[in-house]
Symmetry: C2
Amino acid sequence: MNGAHSLLATLVDHGVDVCFANPGTSEMHFVAALDAVPQMRGILTLFEGVATGAADGYARMADKPAAVLLHLGPGLGNGLANLHNARRAHTPMIVVVGDHATYHKKYDAPLESDIDALAGTVSGWVHRTVDTGAVAGDAADAVAASLVGAVSTLILPADVSWTDGVSTAPVRVVAEQPAVDDEAVRASADALRSGAPTVILIGGDATRKPGLSAAVRIAAATGALVLCETFPARLERGAGVPAVERLAYFAEAAQAQLEGAAHLILAGAKSPVSFFAYPGKPSDLVPEGCDVHVIAEYRGAAAALERLAEELAPGSTAVVAPAVRPDLPTGDLTAFAVAAVVGALLPEGAVVVDESNTGGVGVAAATAGAPAHDVLTLTGGAIGYGMPAAVGAAVAAPGRPVLSLQADGSAMYTLSALWTQARENLDVTTVIFDNGAYDILRIELQRVGAASTAPGPKALELLDLGSPAIDFVKIAEGMGVPARRATTVEELAAALTAAFAEPGPHLIDAVVPSLAG
Amino acid sequence: MNGAHSLLATLVDHGVDVCFANPGTSEMHFVAALDAVPQMRGILTLFEGVATGAADGYARMADKPAAVLLHLGPGLGNGLANLHNARRAHTPMIVVVGDHATYHKKYDAPLESDIDALAGTVSGWVHRTVDTGAVAGDAADAVAASLVGAVSTLILPADVSWTDGVSTAPVRVVAEQPAVDDEAVRASADALRSGAPTVILIGGDATRKPGLSAAVRIAAATGALVLCETFPARLERGAGVPAVERLAYFAEAAQAQLEGAAHLILAGAKSPVSFFAYPGKPSDLVPEGCDVHVIAEYRGAAAALERLAEELAPGSTAVVAPAVRPDLPTGDLTAFAVAAVVGALLPEGAVVVDESNTGGVGVAAATAGAPAHDVLTLTGGAIGYGMPAAVGAAVAAPGRPVLSLQADGSAMYTLSALWTQARENLDVTTVIFDNGAYDILRIELQRVGAASTAPGPKALELLDLGSPAIDFVKIAEGMGVPARRATTVEELAAALTAAFAEPGPHLIDAVVPSLAG
C-alpha cells in the first residue's frame, strides 16, 4: 500500500468518502489509488475554486467533511477564495495539496511555491507529511482537527504518495461539543429578566431548528428580539420552522435593527460590525452603552440557547412560520418579481444556495412561508461561491432539490461548476439575476462617497457587464446544462416549474433591471 | 487630491498607464479616481486571474509594467496563479490590493484575511501604505521595485484611498541593467575554446534578437549547442530571426539534448531541472561531471552573450531561420495538422500565446520558418494563463495579431478572458486544441508509474473532459466572441484565414484526437 492508498483508506475509515478533485501530475498516485478504495467517490471539477466551494456546500449539508484534492501552490491559490468562505462558515474540510517530491523541492522547479504560507491563511490546521509511515496518522489528525469547524490542509509530497510503506491505523477521533458555560447562561438570563431591551444575535450551530426554537421561545417569554447573523452558514427556515430575521447587510439598516438595545446576547454569532468601512460611519454596530454577553461561540450555541430557554421559558413551544406563499406575480420581470416567483414555486425540502447579492434582496421575504428549506449563504464575502456550493449541496443531499440563486457578476468567477453539475447529473436549478452590472458596486460607489457628484464614465464602465451582454443560456448549454432565458414573469414561472419537475441541472437566465437606479 | 487619485497620478507619471481591474467596495475610490486621471486606461476583467494574467502578457510585450486592481485577500487569492507565472517570467507588475480601512481591520469583518502573507508568496516587493501622504512615494517605490522584473504589491487601505492629503511627487526611478561580469565571461570563453562539448542554455532577456544573435554566433564559431529554456517569457523566432531549440519539457528528452556536455553555460536561464519528480529518475538534469558556468542572471544575459560573441566570433553575423512554411495539410484534423495549418497561415508580426500543452506539441516545428513572431509561454506551469495573457498582449501591441493557442482543459480556468477580449475588441484569435481530456495527465499517469498495469476507470474518469463534451463555440458566443468549430483541416484553414482577416476576437474549436493513445 502506497501513501496515496493509505490516505484514501484512512479518510474513508473516518467517514470522509467524497473528494472534489482538480489534480495534476504530482497527484497522479492519489488519482490512481481511487480505484483501490471503492468507497471514495472522486468528483472532477475543472477549476480549484469549484472543488473548494463544493466541499463547503457539501459539509454544510452533510454535517461531515469532504476532501478536496489540489495541485501545488497555484492550485491552492485558485481554491483560496472559497476556502476563505469555508473558514468564515466554520466548515470542516480536508484539503489535500499535492507537492513536489521531498527531494525535488530544493531545485525550485517552475511550480515550486510557498504552499504552507498560503494554507496558513485559511486553515485551522496545516501539516506537511514527510514520510509514508506517517500518512494515516496525519490524515486522522486532519479529520479530527476539521471537526471543530475548520479547514485542515494536508500537504502531500509526491514521493510520500508513491512510496510503499506501513501506515498505522489510527483511532477515530470525535470532536466533542463544548460544555455549556453556566456562568454565561446566568448572565444572559439576568439580562433578559431585567426587562431592558435585549437583542439575541444567533449564528454558528444555532441557526438550525433546535437553536431557532430555543431562541424564539426565549424571545416570546422575555420580549427580546432575535436576529440571525447576516451570513449564516446554514439557516433552516420556511413553513413549520421558527422564523428569525437576519441582521441587515448595509450598516445603516443593521444599526436600525439594533437601535436601543441595552443588552446584546451573542449565541454563536460574532459581535456585529460593518461589512466594509464607510467614511464617517462607525465600524462597530453595537449601540453605545449596550452590554454584550457572549453565551456561546459558533459550536454549542444551540445547546446554550436550549439551556437558557429551559430557564426562562420552561415547557413552552416555539412559534413557527405559517405556510404562506406569495401569489405568482404579473407584470414586468423585476428582481422582486423573481423573488415572488421563487416564493410561489419553491419545492418542499429545497436547499437554497444564495449568491444573488443585490438581485436577491426580495427573496427572504418572499420565501418566509414557503415549504421548509435550508439557505446557505456567502459567509466570507468572497464571490464565486454559489454555483460550486450548489454542486456540493446536491452531492450531500441527493434527494433534495437545490436552488442556486446567482448574481450575474459573481457567476463569472467559478462558472465551470455548471459542467460538474451536468457531469454528475445533479438536481440543481440555477437562476441568474441578470441585471448586466456589478449592481452592488453601483450602490457602493454612492455609499462610500466616492462619487459625491455624478460618477464619471470611466468609473461606471468598470461596473458595467452589459457590453457585451453575457449570454448565460449559451454558456450553460456549452457546459452541458439545459438553459432558458426569461424576460417575463410568465416565462420565469414556466421555466422554473419545468426545471423543478425534471431531475438534473437547469439554468434560467432571468433578465431584470438594475436596482441601483 | 485623495490617496486613490494620488496613486493613479503617480503611476501614470511613471509610465504605468493601463490597469486591469476587478474591483470591489474597498476600491471604489480608486475606480472613481479613474475619471480624474484620463491617461490611465482601466480595463475590466470578470475574474482576478484574468487581470493578473493580462498584466503579465502586457508587460512581456510592452516592456513596461501594467497595474492590476484587486479586492482584498480573496481577490488576490484568485489572482495568485497568474502572479506565480509572472514571478517565474520576471514580469514587472504593480498589483494594488484594496484593503479594509486601517481602523476597520481590528473588527475582523467577513472579508478580513492575511493579504500580506498571500502577497509575499509571489511578490518581489510588498508594502502596506498607512497614510495618504505616503501614497505617491510608495507607488514610485513599487514601480521601481518592479522594474528589476518582479511583482510589486501595494496594499491600499480604503481610508488611505479616500482621505485627502498632499503626496510628494517622487523622482522617477530607473532600474539599471547589471554590469557584465568579466570574470564569468572569461570562464565561459575558456570553456568554449577548450573544444569540449558545450551547451549554452539561454533565458531571461537573451531570448530576443540581440541575445539570440550573439548566442548563435558563438555556437557557429565554437561548435557549442544553443538551447533555450523550456518556458521562455518571450521568445522571438521565425523567418529572419536566429533559431534556437528549446529544452524539452519531458526530462528524458531534455537529458538527451544535454547528454555528453562537458560544460553548461547558463545565460539568463536557471540550471535545468525536471519539471516534476518521477520515481527513480533524476531531478537535476545537468549531466554528471558537467561544469556549470553562470554567465548572467535573467537580466543582462543578452549583454553578456554579446560580450562573449565579440570575444569568440568578432565581426561574424548570425545565421537566421529561412522563410519556409509547411504546405496546408490534408486528411484528418490531428494536433499535428492543426500545427501545420498554423504554420501555413501565421500572419506577419504575430504574438503567439502558447498554452496548448500536449496538443501544441507540433507547433514549434511547424512555425519555425513562419514570418517573425513572438511566443509567450507558461513560465510557471500554473494553467489558466493563456487567454488572459492574450488580452494583455493585444492591449500592449495593438497593431499585431495575437494567436492564443489553448488546450481545452486549461481554457476552463480563466474563461472569462474571452469577454474582456470582446469588450475591448482585441485582435485575438483563440484556437482550442479540443481533445476532450486532460491529455497531459493521461501521459503523466503512465510516466509517474502510478498505473503500472492499466489505469482504473475511476482514475481515467478524473482525466476525462468529454462527459459532457464542452462546447467552446457556445461558451465563446456567450461571452461575445464569434466562434466556429473545425473538425477537418479545411474547416480549420478557412476559419483561421477568416479570423486573421477580420479584426477583433475570434475562437476556433479545433476538435482533435487525444495524443495519449
